[in-house]
Amino acid sequence: MALSRDELKAAILKKAETAPKPQLYIKDFYACDPDTKPREIKNVANDLVKEGKLMFWSSGSTTMYAMKSRIKNEEGDSGVN
């Protein structure tokens, strides 16, 4: 059975905190709950950004997700997202 929204949020945050690399593709979160559709997982991950718990990390052409505390930014900006 699919996880509840809150359970899914917790699972995504745990993954973002413990994964070996700080930047994660959206696909990396799919494993948090194989029973939830990718589009729904994407929506939950984007909600976590809105809540300030995750941030977007972009190479320009590709956008990934990260915990703010784990990102070393070349420019020393605090990531605004």
Partner: protein, 375 residues
């Protein structure tokens, strides 16, 4: 309420999209949408569209740099306010179109444009060379192998006569992309000017730990040429990557993912020329552009070698092609061996594909033409 930096989310508006297009239609367009019967180019740069209501929309097309200032946009607004009821548009090829609803209004508009120096050249229609679509280059990009705006300016200065006239066998679409990412549609253009790198990336071991996720850099390489490695930095062993230079195809994809792998270089970088692409389905299917000149050096400010190469191909085509034939259709009719001979372009092994799907481009027939290439 004004923006409050302390509370950026207060009153926030998001996801409203662009403005609705019909707010911006000139009146003659709004009244005749879906009712157009036919069009005609009455002189280079001037089109008339006739509606079933009898109304006419006269369009004056003007070339512009893609990189333009708000001062210039305001001047365009002045022109549109004066002649076009306060509306105008841009084309997908960075041209500007001023529209009026009667023939009588065309000449005053043309006169006004002419009186503004060389800022508003009229043309870019029919069987000519229209504006070059291009990318950012040294003006704004971090991965370019050449500039964009400057090369385009130099080429358009030389081909200006083809912008303001319609004497070619068909339209010729030129595009420029300043690196292999090809942010411009150069892979399907009659003549494509493409920035290329020729040196493998350097590895900045001092920076790589701070700015790169090594797995991303390693997986970015389509040929598996980037491998995990170790290096000594200030007496400490660090994890880094190594590049197998023999397998590098200079695409720069690793640099996109990892800023500690720069590959741009003044001598390594330059321009390749590709020809024969098209997007339209007219007569023949869309075609990719094909690489005919693998490298020309970067020679700012006016890139004379590139300008000469483009002009040479264009004028050979103009003389030799049949009416309606696009560059690629012409090259296929005469055969690529003839293309190289007629354009006086040395054929090199670099034009023979050895990447994926390469076999599709090899000749598997005994049919060919004897040109000077066959000794």
């Amino acid at each position: 309420m004004a923006y409050d930096p302390a509370n950026p989310m207060v009153d926030r508006i998001s996801d409203i999209g662009p403005r609705y297009y019909s707010e911006f239609h000139p009146p003659v367009v709004k009244a005749n949408k879906g009712k157009w019967l036919w069009h005609e180019i009455t002189q280079p740069g001037v089109l008339v569209h006739k509606s079933e209501t009898g109304a006419e929309c006269w369009t004056v097309r003007v070339g512009a740099a893609r990189l333009i200032s708000i001062e210039l946009i305001r001047e365009m607004c002045d022109i549109a306010d004066k002649h076009c009821d306060g509306f105008f548009r841009f084309t997908t090829r960075n041209n500007v179109e001023f529209m009026v609803d009667s023939k009588a209004k065309v000449q005053p508009l043309l006169d006004d444009l002419k009186g503004r120096g060389n800022r508003f050249p009229v043309g870019g229609t029919g069987c000519g060379v229209t504006n070059i679509v291009h990318t950012q280059g040294w003006v704004h990009c971090h991965t370019p192998a050449t500039d964009a705006s400057g090369v385009v300016k130099a080429v358009m200065d030389e081909l200006f006569d083809y912008f303001t006239s319609m004497k070619l066998p068909a339209q010729v679409r030129i595009a420029l992309a300043c690196c292999l990412n090809m942010c411009g549609a150069v892979h399907a253009s009659d003549i494509a000017i493409l920035g290329v790198h020729r040196k493998p990336p350097m590895i900045d071991h001092h920076r790589i730990t701070g700015v790169c996720e090594l797995p991303l850099a390693i997986s970015a390489c389509p040929l598996g040429a980037v491998k995990p490695a170790k290096a000594m930095v200030n007496g400490v062993e660090i994890k880094t990557v190594a590049v197998n230079a023999e397998r590098c195809m200079f695409c720069g994809n690793c640099y996109t993912m990892c800023p500690a792998m720069p590959l741009a270089d003044p001598d390594g970088d330059g321009i390749a020329i590709l020809v024969g692409g098209k997007v339209s389905n007219s007569r023949t299917a869309p075609k990719f552009s094909k690489l005919v000149i693998p490298f020309l050096p970067n020679t700012p400010p006016r890139w004379p070698e590139v300008v000469a190469a483009v002009k040479g191909i264009l004028e050979t085509y103009a003389k030799d092609a049949h009416k309606y034939e696009r560059v690629g259709e012409w090259a296929e009719r005469i055969g690529w061996e003839k293309f190289f001979e007629k354009c006086n372009i040395p054929f090199t092994i670099k034009s023979i594909d050895d990447y994926r799907l390469a076999y599709d481009t090899w000749r598997t027939t005994t049919q060919f033409k004897y040109t000077s290439h066959v000794k």
